[in-house]
Point group: none
Amino acid sequence: MTIGEVAARAKVNIQTVRYYERRGLLVTPRRSAGGYRQFSDDVVPRIRFIKRAQELGFTLEEIAELLALRVRHGEACDDVRRRALAKITLVEQKSRELENLKRALEGLVQACERRAPTAECPILEALEEPLSDA
Amino acid sequence: MTIGEVAARAKVNIQTVRYYERRGLLVTPRRSAGGYRQFSDDVVPRIRFIKRAQELGFTLEEIAELLALRVRHGEACDDVRRRALAKITLVEQKSRELENLKRALEGLVQACERRAPTAECPILEALEEPLSDA
DNA sequence: CTTGACTCTATACTATGGTACCGGGTCTAT
DNA sequence: ATAGACCCGGTACCATAGTATAGAGTCAAG
């Protein structure tokens, strides 16, 4: 697969594919005699993974670490395990942050629905108070 | 209030106050004879509002819109409420994806403990559903 | 064997949300 | 009236995550 095909299938810019390769997020592709990148099909789901992980609030650096987690024969299993556990902690932390966010937003919406018809928007008023533990 | 006082009270950088003013997030302050900004006390809660809204996942541009909505209250509340609900939907989707990712990572840890090499990277399969953007 | 679409590297530029620095002016207490 | 703290606008810079462009080379169909 050429880079253009990869970009089209993964729905990203060609430049983005090259950028991800530079950032070490993609397996370095083979090259044709003329120097064209020849990607395997795996790269498309991988790019989609990257995009989704980004939406979840992971930076490209964190995503690179996630992608580096793999159990292979002969490799230091303990190391992989340790890093995976660290990532689980990170994911749990992100989950908690999202929970806080959701509760805060829901509280605001509910305040909005309880409001007297003539009152000011309570969402905006509530934002003037500190968020509970977000 | 001088800009330094505002920054100290709102716990942001002086540059940030000027930046927010440039971005149209603050009411343009009066000036002293010598050109110093003279802020009214309102600006401190407003900066706190901005900071909190950011924590809720709003961009500065969205926050500028929220602040503009506040002026003409009434039907503005519904508008603000709708935006908050949209954010909640997004947050819920992200939570589900994080759960998937966590499960995938846990599977990886378990594979490690069994010292079984993973044929395919299960992490890549963890984020299969695209997030619809808000 | 040429033409046009595609790709190459390298560099520069964009947006977002700030932060830092510069040479100067202002404010205030002594 | 002068030191020192503060502020001014302007510009440059930071990180992150790309996107655009230039000038050259490659690939494949006709």
